[in-house]
Symmetry: C2
Subunit: 408 residues, 2 copies
DNA sequence: CTCATATAGTTCAGGCAATGAACTAAAGCT
DNA sequence: AGCTTTAGTTCATTGCCTGAACTATATGAG
């Protein structure tokens, strides 16, 4: 397949292109090629040249810049059979990024190296329901500082961070627009306080979006177009198209939890009616299954639901079946709107998949025949740490795509 | 606002950037600046330099290339008050593109100059229902040749063309995958036969997508994010985000006609169940209104429907109200998936808007409160020639974005 | 009428980045 | 030991943008 001709500036972007942009672009190209080599194998400059289409001379020069910036390092030799062996190149293991998460029941921070490996992870239980933002952020800052200093003792430098939050966010403005389960509305987060003096600062992400990005990286099938649906208290989603997160014009695309699946249904927290969330959200499933969400923690209730399903309690089974069926309707509509035909189930959808799967497939077959093959309905590969990994991964990726931001 | 840093090659695209790409990119930047100047005003090189951020020297050189390629021309002088007057630049009026359309009841061809003005238009009635593709294409080729020669007599050269078809298309493969109302399934179209030896060849478009692009250009409010829904025999749609058509990974995004609005509804031609099209497509509305679509032409039936609405025939009114209400549900879901909050109604939705509007707004308010303001629900500005204009406009735009394709 | 001023557009030296060819380096094979 | 093969570097060349100097052409003041 022929690659599209590169375009320097978009049609709207009135940025003039100069020769320096070429270097920035090629720097990213080279770094990307090194990053995308199968883990364990360390490409030589010559291999990078082959992969990128650049000449050996250019690659040598670009690699030098990346070495100077400390983003990559040389490691060992790489015999190719005959001839002079190449010098292996890899992403520097002493540079890393911090993934952070604020969720309803906990806060968490992890150090992820540039290759995507989790070096350290700490989780701190904390009831953030209807919490104030300041204390939560302060607690997270303490946690982050501790993890950071542990990493520092191992010679790992933190370049930047990503924070995932369960709610609608405005990344540019560092604002959480609304996070119903935290009780936050339009709060500004002082992100830089989380990682003082980190070279790249801290970026903000929606939880489901971040998790979708983590899936992208860790999918065994290597799919680059899919919808990630995350069942939590609410139902979130992230759309990945062409290995990119599709955020829509306002940055809030993929909110599949609020697709209408029951025109005559009940009210939703979003103000709408008959949203998927009112059928397939945790509270909805619990109450339809006859389990009280109030008595005890949410995870305890989930365990109770699983026990009920295993022993075949009719009310529980039909609650989950209804959720699966309605999820299918929402996915059918989504397929039509964004032309996607593969789904990854996360959150409680992953846990409930054995019971959800059949009604989900039925429903997909009924409402969008031919769109989703059964093997394209899969379960999350990253599990509950998806948001954390995705937030970190996204920051790493933006670094790989614009390495010139690191002094070079 | 700070413009995003230009990126030469995408993350996936393994195309190396060389210095020549800078020129290509800047060529497009300059041409785009000239094209986007308010019609009637002809910018000077100095003004272009100001608008693009390039130096006067670079602009002079780039403009020279564009003049040589015949894409622009110098026109008159442009006094700026004091000082030497600038030389006006404009898109060449003697270069044009042909927009073509194959629809159920007609074929059509128009010549559109680079500024987007329609110079010539011919429409030929023709019943293409369940037609063979070859004769239709042959008839269109004859029509196109005639229009082209008329244009040639006026000194206008046709650089390329765009063909809009009511069905799913594969533009790269020049294939119509399925066009239910033409009865076409996976037919290859010999597009180049339509405009032999045109410099840029002929591109293929989905009708609703092309119409969406035409809206983009002709919208009085200048909106750059909206959903265009076109009511025809089927219900088509085109999503415009950031002034770009959003096509999705497979190129078939925006098929809002097959969003599920009635889970217990009837079968749809797509194989699904309860699709919007089964409620708001022309045949569905006609039959719910008690009008026979068989007796007489479709436009006659539409006239009958309008008369019935004007005299308040209850069945007709409620059929259209139901269509509007269900359209609202589909738009509500679409808003959630792609984060769009503005709609343009085309096709019969535009004609029926006086009766559709109230139920549509009610439904939007109920299912997606706060998403669509009333003033963001508007009627098509281009009318029935949208597909034609959009197909041509898209070809023009791709030329403006890659002018180096013309010998230069 | 002439000269100062302001703006448009061109010319030219300088710098930067990629290229391709020539060259050096370091292995395996015979 | 010598040939071959592959990795990586050096260097002259080319292309493009930039900024400064320069030419061209208008208005307006004296």
């Amino acid at each position: 397949m022929v690659m599209p001709a590169p375009a320097l500036a978009g049609p709207g972007g009135a940025a003039p292109g100069s020769v320096g942009d070429v270097r920035r672009s090629n720097l990213a190209l080279v770094l990307g090629a090194i990053a995308e080599f199968p883990p364990g194998t360390h490409p030589s400059r010559a291999q990078v040249a082959g992969a990128t289409g650049l000449t050996k001379a250019s690659v040598s020069s670009l690699v030098l810049d990346l070495l100077d910036a400390g983003i990559i390092r040389e490691i060992g030799l790489n015999p190719q059979g005959r001839g002079r062996p190449g010098v292996g190149l890899e992403l520097s293991p002493s540079r890393a990024v911090m993934g952070m998460e604020i969720n309803v029941d906990y806060i968490s921070a992890a150090v992820v190296d540039l290759a995507g490996t989790v070096l350290l992870r700490e989780l701190q239980e904390r009831d953030n329901r209807n919490s104030q933002d300041m204390p939560v952020l302060a607690a997270l800052a303490v946690l982050a500082a501790r993890v950071r200093s542990t990493a520092g003792e191992q010679g790992v430098e933190i370049l930047g961070g990503g924070l995932a939050v369960p709610g609608l966010v405005d990344p540019a403005g560092a604002r959480v627009l609304t996070a119903p389960n935290l009780g936050w509305v339009n709060v500004y987060l002082d992100l830089d306080a989380l990682l003082p003096e980190a070279a790249l600062g801290v970026e903000l992400f929606n939880e489901a979006n971040a998790a979708a990005l983590a899936e992208l990286r860790h999918r065994p099938d290597g799919a680059s177009n899919f919808l990630f649906v995350s069942g939590e208290v609410g139902v979130g989603g992230g759309i990945v198209i062409g290995s990119e997160l599709f955020t829509g014009p306002g940055g809030h695309a993929g909110e599949v939890g609020h697709i209408v699946v029951d025109p005559d249904g009940g009210h939703c927290s979003c103000g709408g009616t008959g949203c998927l969330e009112t059928v397939a959200g945790q509270d909805a499933i619990f109450s339809a299954a006859g389990l009280a969400p109030e008595g005890g923690s949410r995870s305890a209730t989930m365990s109770a639901l699983l026990r009920a399903l295993e022993s075949g309690v009719p009310k529980a089974v039909s609650a989950v079946e209804r959720a699966g069926y309605c999820l299918g309707m929402a996915l059918a509509s989504t397929a039509r709107v964004v032309d996607i035909d593969s789904v990854v189930l996360g959150g409680h959808f992953a846990v409930l998949e054995p019971w959800l799967r059949a009604p989900l497939l039925n429903s997909l077959h009924k409402y969008a025949p031919g769109k989703y093959a059964s093997e394209h309905v899969t379960v999350s590969a990253v599990g509950e740490f998806g948001a954390l990994l995705g937030a970190a991964g996204s920051v790493i990726r933006s670094l790989v795509e614009a390495p010139h931001r690191l002094h070079a």
